[in-house]
Symmetry: C2
Subunit: 760 residues, 2 copies
Amino acid sequence: MRVPSGLWKNLVPVQIYGANTGVGKTVVSTLLAKHFPGRKAGKTRWSVKYLKPVSTGPAGESDERYVKRHAGCQVRCLYRYDDPVSPHLAARNAGEMVSDETLLSRISKSLRQYARSEPFGADKRAIVLIETAGGVLSPGPQSTPQADLYRPLRLPVVLVGDYRLGGIATTISAFESLTLRGYDVDAIAIFNSGRFGNDEYLKSYFKNQGNIPVFSLPSVPDLEDCSKEEEWKKMEEYYENVHLSPELSVLAGCIVGQNRKRLQELNKMAKRTNEVIWHPFTQHKSIEQPHDILVFDSAYGDYFQTLHTRKSLKDIKHEDELPVLYPAFDGSASWWTQGLGHGNPELSLAAAYAAGRYGHVMFAGATHQPALLLADRLLKGLENPRLKKVFFTDNGSTGTEVGIKMALRAACKRYEWDGSAEEIGIIGLKGSYHGDTLGAMEASEPSIFNKKVDWYRGRGYWFDYPQVKMRRGRWVVEPPVGMEEEFGPRQYFESLDEIFDFETRGSSPRYEQYIEDVLNRLTKSEGKKFGALVMEPVLLGAGGMVFVDPLFQRSLINVIRRYSFSSHQTDSSDPHTWTGLPVLFDEVFTGLYRLGRFSSASFLSIHPDISVHAKLLTGGLLPLCTTVASQSVFDAFWGDKKADALLHGHSYTAHPIGCHVANTSLEVMKGLEVSSIWERYRRSWMGETRKEEGKFRMLKGERKEEWIWSMWNKHFVEEVSKNKRVDACVALGSVLAISLVDKKGAGVLGFHFRFSLPCF
Amino acid sequence: MRVPSGLWKNLVPVQIYGANTGVGKTVVSTLLAKHFPGRKAGKTRWSVKYLKPVSTGPAGESDERYVKRHAGCQVRCLYRYDDPVSPHLAARNAGEMVSDETLLSRISKSLRQYARSEPFGADKRAIVLIETAGGVLSPGPQSTPQADLYRPLRLPVVLVGDYRLGGIATTISAFESLTLRGYDVDAIAIFNSGRFGNDEYLKSYFKNQGNIPVFSLPSVPDLEDCSKEEEWKKMEEYYENVHLSPELSVLAGCIVGQNRKRLQELNKMAKRTNEVIWHPFTQHKSIEQPHDILVFDSAYGDYFQTLHTRKSLKDIKHEDELPVLYPAFDGSASWWTQGLGHGNPELSLAAAYAAGRYGHVMFAGATHQPALLLADRLLKGLENPRLKKVFFTDNGSTGTEVGIKMALRAACKRYEWDGSAEEIGIIGLKGSYHGDTLGAMEASEPSIFNKKVDWYRGRGYWFDYPQVKMRRGRWVVEPPVGMEEEFGPRQYFESLDEIFDFETRGSSPRYEQYIEDVLNRLTKSEGKKFGALVMEPVLLGAGGMVFVDPLFQRSLINVIRRYSFSSHQTDSSDPHTWTGLPVLFDEVFTGLYRLGRFSSASFLSIHPDISVHAKLLTGGLLPLCTTVASQSVFDAFWGDKKADALLHGHSYTAHPIGCHVANTSLEVMKGLEVSSIWERYRRSWMGETRKEEGKFRMLKGERKEEWIWSMWNKHFVEEVSKNKRVDACVALGSVLAISLVDKKGAGVLGFHFRFSLPCF
């Protein structure tokens, strides 16, 4: 949902949530509405707006009417239902559904109108009180809990505590529900709870928990057996007495102060960041100015809430009326980590659960349920009969290093090579990238990313290969410039499906011959030794979204698996034992549904001996990586000596939070796989193949995965490829990569959307 | 708190929590108490116990009496207060305080008694219903919220939902509060909420949220205006009608089923772990049997809840009466990560907040508040005027690699060396360890940990050094065997303070001469080049808790900083510019209060140019690492070309969850630094120095850090050192390391406690 988070210079919005229904939200709103115009602190003159997004119950008894009568401020209600029940039932009963999007956008519009209508100056500001209905998680009209429904606005909160018996528990729990959804609670207001002592307890509790101020307000008069008129009079008296009381002044000051503090901090962040932060992958000279830094206040779904920069404010005249933050689309899904959107409450709760149940527990010779479950899920999802053992690390780079250590040891052991004295290299593809720790770098060919790393040498050989591209609406497999002889001329295909149809394409004697010739030269003529094949299946991510002809990758593996790298060959009859060299697939970028399938190896119909998984694994929350290995690789480390083991580990190896979030994330993605949204994506890529009929039957049956498709609409992708500024493009799963024709050559734009976005 | 988690073979305990007070916990308990003995499912005969740990209100109207009357089962109340208010007030009013520890241990004892008194067999089991008071977070007698107070037992929960208006919100929030404390909610029971539709809503909500079953029970009869007798009759009729209803049978079946499932899963975990998990640092042949694997069900404070192994059950006869889990002390604080105990609710909520506010947001050229705040905190806490820039990675190994990349580049650039062609090594100490990624390994000398890593070469020179030990109650600085000539003979010291008293010890011409001779040999005779000094200050952690003579470390740095490694010297007049070689301190193990101070560099009164921090940084929750660098190191990467930059990064660089948890953790530790607990630790080490008077004054003033102390009681440490099986020991901050004399030589035991433990 694309709305700006609610932060203005001339307007202080605050959302009034209640720890439960009946705790006095409207009384607190009325007190604040009455307080501000008469506020004595500072020179600012305040006007007040009261906004009730959704109101249930008879119009005559409505909260906005009540506030208007007592405080005399401008009020507005966006949706009203007569039935005094939860909005989701009231809306249903009234037959008037309003979607979350519509409601949110109307609130956002109202706030913007308020901001525009306010005369702005150092001494004039407005406060907007937005009162919710019921408790923090009471459902809105479309049944979404309010704290989730309103989350895109992330308004600062005044939580009205529960003064009744049991109210300590409900108040703290309501606070926790808001907190785990990323809200900032500015203050808690609660009526004096007499002998129950809720206010006293909560003051002391929240002093230790985030130092949230708790304000104890005088009890509301007893209105039992009062006539309407008496009620009115008593309450009017109450408001008169309380609205300028010291407690209320401090509460109001706290709201204003938090707003000021937030604005000040946001404004200082870019400059301070440039002073103290050393950014990853960044030439700091290119972001020397504070306005070069993107300041993120928060994120939700596909959007960051970002501080306006000079660029985003270009052409805008009245910037004071603008929200301070604007929603910026997260086009790279935060470096390809997001699968389920920012601020996903299910994942937040999953993280909190594992933190609460375990924290971190050491993992050597030990086990816990989240790690074991994750290992089982991965082994099952990968559907690779070779893979048997799961090793945990913290990121794709460390996970690939571990995989390389595994593969080299297995090869050196079988071939009786002394890795500590001989140079054992890896075989890979040109332009590949596997991370920035030294071992992962060594497996990549020299490039801008590693050439100035003083210990980098580049231990291996990297093959050229033909690429798959969509050019002017047609799929083509192209050899690298000048290598037509080795790889053959351009080949055109009707569909992605055809490119992956290995039954029809068969094996490629030309590719295989080329590969064998290169290997002969390297090992026989030059005497080089190799210990592993390391590559990303199908798509080289950081290398520039390069789509490798899958038939070439298959050919490379076929040749390597039958090639004789040493006179010592395996004597195992187990078909899952590695031969030639252990094959390591780096699926950090490509795996776990990025390309529409659990495993990207499945596109090649190849079973690697080692495969590495990270990024989407933890649903865009926190780092975790798994290196999954075959039994025959594992066996190379089995022995009587500790020194024979894989002596690798990190303090937080298999941390339960990461594992549990990964389990939750994989389960949600598994649900998406069979969802109607993905079904729609798939259908958009239907009808282009000769085997349409057969494929359609598959779609209805179990073998859905046979179909090659993208989350990007086929027609849209074709149109993009025909744009004159576009050289070629690639679409597969959630990835769209566009190579531009520009004066300096070709730039690549890469996009990845989280999975639940509707297709274009 | 050392109690076993509540899990038995013959006993099913379930804790009845309420979403609020007045939601019908006691009615649900009564229904279950009445249901089980008459239960028709399966062959098991059930007996029922009802336990009310804390009851408030008049004895005549107590819950346990009510349950006994209606269900006729055995009931027990541990603490009773007449005042019908929250237990924390009732206990205070009654002047009868009961500590959390006592209450917990009495519940644990009751459960054990029940388990013992039960005849056990396949067809006989007991259920124990433990009813809490008020809502989930209502305070216990000592004011601790109940869900925190009872957390060490981690009993499975039946949450009684709130059927009233607003009850959807309170029920979900109560569920979230339990979940973020690591509880498993087996089921939610709620009375039919009529037109409010809470039960219907919650059924559908929880189907999507963790698939928690929600049971809708018939409403309790209207008891308004009833006499006591009529009340009794109506309720008796209600219980009679409902207790064997299908809904209640399924609820009971769900409780029993979850218990069975949990036992089955726990029993399978070790075997399955051995099948699918590849453990860090582990020779799998040595843990071939399932009973070699520690199975952790959960953890809290300093204890794991661990499945009994053959070893832990040795000598125990009646194991069926035993809890299935036992509390195992986490003696290494889970690989030195825990500072604040497992399952810390403040940290869990912090993790959830950052997940809810951001998820992860990409960090290159961007910023967010948790990362910036953490950078500020670190720079402030380190009190090192050289350090200016903070780089984020995921663990100590990657953080050290980044530091090495920084240092090498800075040196190669200034000295005009071509790192890609020349071998540039690092200088370090023997036995040091900096992690398992290749770059970090290369900075460690050859050892068991790296000798079978095929790409490892070991790029550097590692110095010998004298060590500090406590032998037979006395502190001694000892040269390595056979190196008395280089380092001088053993020196005895009165106190740790004296060892670190560099004013009195002065500089060491002997150490400095030795170091200079070695450097001359390496660089002048052998022509070697070096780009950094890399070492752990004071204590080499993974190297075996080796306590290096701090004067030697100072001498090494002094010599290196004035030594001429190249003819190109700096022309900077800035005193914070590195000279000789950039000095990198790996404080991953030693820093952030491990040794009692924020920075372990401060013990040496040395300002490194780069320092690395992880482990305790995130309070034992999840991986994060920071590499902090000086301006002069940063400047080496400044330039017009992107290739000049530090092109290192990980997908989850500076993930907000890690940063925010780190901020929370550092704040709590900062509080401990001035707490009475640490004050007690400090005092236990007072009185051993010649400067007692002066130091004591410092203790009262601001310069507390001058004092060298341990969280281990001085007398205790001295006694340990005098044990005849002990060769020597070391105590500093939270670390106690004991070298044993055994037949095979000397083994080292290392201990670290979380910081809030009382001293021994």
